[in-house]
């Protein structure tokens, strides 16, 4: 018994150099991740406006306030509309573009470079640019419609209820397609060439090659992209905030902008934190489910 205890201390002692090397990282995590995280759980159970001590304990009331708030559900469903559109459109268009580049096309270098550019511009800058593009008077979209005689279609895209979310989603997808394209392209290029050669020997058409060889080969990549899409879009904030701040009347509110508004416009930190913890639980369940499904398949 004593010898195992002794061995334990010897192990610890020999680990000291390694501990010193990880100390800076661990310290940052204790101060800037674990402390705020524990505080988040505490704050979510208090009525708190961000100033002074936590005194007004309300138990789970903040969670109930969020779960009873129709605005939260609006933000929730908007976020999932974004995720759905992004997952379906962006990944499939990205796939199409990657496949075309893989098959070979004239000016391939020009295309692969220029198609990637929307991903290199930050969400904030893209949001600001597209906010001008959607502008009712000086925006190119409305001006173009007027120019080709479709002036009656011109409308205030971002400031009316029906169009503000679709307009943001369109811009969002414009930004994410190149990312999906790049990842799919990089992975299809790693496919061993004898896969395709063997299929060609058997006289497979290009559709058959796509359907039975390329898509199955890329399936793990597509699943990773799907998971990345879900986890990134759940946190969507930058572009929404720059383009509409969630307006008009919550039409384009997403979960994160809802949290921000509750904290900094309504000074209601307890409710805001409760909403963000609900968001974490949604995200955790998605991640864990997908991990579980992956395990099961393997």
């Amino acid at each position: 018994m004593q010898s195992t205890a002794k061995k334990f201390w010897i192990d610890i002692k020999q680990s000291i150099p390694a501990y010193l090397l990880i100390l800076p990282t661990i310290a940052v995590f204790v101060i800037f991740l674990y402390t705020p995280f524990i505080n988040a759980i505490r704050i979510s159970m208090y009525k708190y406006n961000g100033i002074g001590e936590l005194t007004d304990y309300v138990g789970l009331d903040n969670y109930l306030i969020v779960l009873k708030d129709p605005k939260f559900y609006e933000a929730f469903f908007n976020t999932f509309k974004l995720i759905g559109a992004d997952a379906i459109l962006s990944i499939s268009i990205g796939f199409f573009l990657a496949y075309v580049l893989y098959r070979g096309i004239p000016l391939k270098r020009f295309f692969s470079t220029s198609l990637f550019i929307p991903y290199l511009i930050s969400m904030v800058v893209i949001g600001s640019i597209w906010r001008i593009i959607y502008d009712p008077t000086i925006g190119p979209i409305n001006q173009l419609l007027q120019l080709i005689g479709l002036g009656e279609w011109a409308q205030p895209w971002l400031s009316q209820y029906e169009t503000s979310l679709p307009a943001i989603i369109l811009t969002w997808i414009w930004h994410t397609i190149p990312f999906n394209m790049l990842i799919i392209y990089a992975n299809v290029m790693t496919m061993p060439s004898d896969f395709i050669e063997a299929a060609e020997m058997d006289g497979a058409t290009s559709w058959q090659k796509l359907r039975y060889i390329i898509v199955p080969y890329l399936l793990p990549t597509l699943l990773v992209l799907l998971l990345l899409t879900v986890t990134t879009d759940l946190r969507a904030f930058d572009m929404v905030w720059v383009m509409t701040q969630g307006g008009p009347g919550g039409a384009s509110e997403v979960i994160t902008s809802y949290v921000y508004r509750k904290a900094f416009s309504s000074q209601n930190f307890g409710v805001a934190t409760a909403a963000s913890i609900i968001m974490m639980l949604i995200m955790l369940s998605i991640t864990l489910t997908s991990q579980f499904l992956n395990r099961k398949k393997a």
Binding site: F8, I12, Q14, S15, A18, Y19, L21, I22, P24, T25, I26, V28, F29, F32, L33, T35, P36, F37, A40, I43, V100, P106, F110, T113, S114, L115, I117, P118, L120, I121, S122, M123, V124, V125, S128, W130, R131, I132, I133, I138, W174, A186, V224, L228, T231, L234, R235, F237, D238, W241, V242, I255, T256, V259, Y260, S276, I277, M280, M283, L284
Partner: protein
């Protein structure tokens, strides 16, 4: 058959050309407007600029405070990158090559961050930096950014260093190198490819980060480019449209230019960053 294939290829080419226009046009349009005078722009948004006048850029940098935003962002990004790379190299080496009791525990202590969405942390972290009295300082930017970067960074560098043969490090130790000499003379040169990947990923996210900068920075003289650009559109009434176009052009073009010069590194980094999940 061959004819049908030709037609299909032609259609695909035209579709791709249209899509390329859609990808490039917003940026090109903004850049074109940035060279025009306010009157030229208001007369027609389609006209081409008559000369390469840089007045709008001067207004944006001077009256529009763009120079302040730029310098702050450069400083924040540089400081974040130093912390990112130094801390993660130390930790990555310890996890990959050193004897460490409770290694798995400490590894997941950092990785668990991938499961916690940033917005949860931001509100209490905001209260924390107020308590610590570090609001509007570099520390309040750099350490939170490092916290966001560390999990992915650690996965990538640990995987990379795991593939480095132990004999290399052992022989350096036998030659009498101490720990820091080993890191400096052996590990860093070997890890250069992965460090450049990490620099691209960490640098891009630090440069573009918006929400934490918006929440935590209250002093206008400390605003970053993201925060500055987000309020730029509201300045059109004071500055006019064309200087705002100049500001948008400069901020949009930064990574496009770096990408054009270092395409390989960029593509490699972004691909490497997508393997998590």
């Amino acid at each position: 058959m061959a004819k049908r294939k030709k037609i299909t290829n032609a259609i695909i080419f035209v579709v791709l050309l249209c899509y390329a226009c859609l990808s490039l046009y917003p940026l090109i349009w903004v850049i074109l407007q940035s060279f025009k005078t306010e009157t030229q722009f208001l007369q027609s948004i389609w006209s081409l600029p008559t000369s390469l006048r840089l007045d709008n850029y001067l207004v944006a940098f001077d009256k529009g405070n763009l120079s302040v935003y730029f310098l702050n962002t450069v400083r924040n990004t540089a400081a974040t990158l130093i912390v990112d790379l130094v801390f993660i190299t130390l930790a990555g080496f310890a996890f990959a090559k050193m004897k460490m009791k409770f290694k798995t525990f400490f590894f997941y202590f950092i990785l668990v961050n991938l499961l916690i969405p940033t917005p949860i942390i931001l509100l209490p972290m905001y209260l924390l930096i107020l308590d610590l009295g570090i609001q509007n300082t570099l520390a309040a930017i750099v350490f939170p950014y490092f916290q966001g970067f560390a999990p992915l960074g650690l996965i990538l560098i640990t995987n990379y260093l795991n593939s480095v043969p132990n004999e290399l490090i052992e022989s350096a130790r036998i030659d009498g190198c101490n720990l820091f000499q080993i890191l400096y003379k052996i590990v860093v040169p070997i890890a250069m490819p992965i460090l450049s990947t990490l620099a691209v990923l960490g640098g891009m996210s630090a440069w573009n980060e918006f929400m934490w900068a918006l929440i935590s920075i209250s002093d206008i003289s400390q605003y970053t480019l993201s925060v500055g650009i987000s309020i730029m559109r509201d300045k059109t009434s004071i500055l006019g449209y064309t200087p705002v176009f100049a500001a948008l052009s400069v901020s949009a073009i930064v990574f496009v230019v770096i990408y054009l010069f270092a395409q390989k590194t960029f593509v490699k980094s972004i691909t490497a960053g997508a393997v998590k999940g």
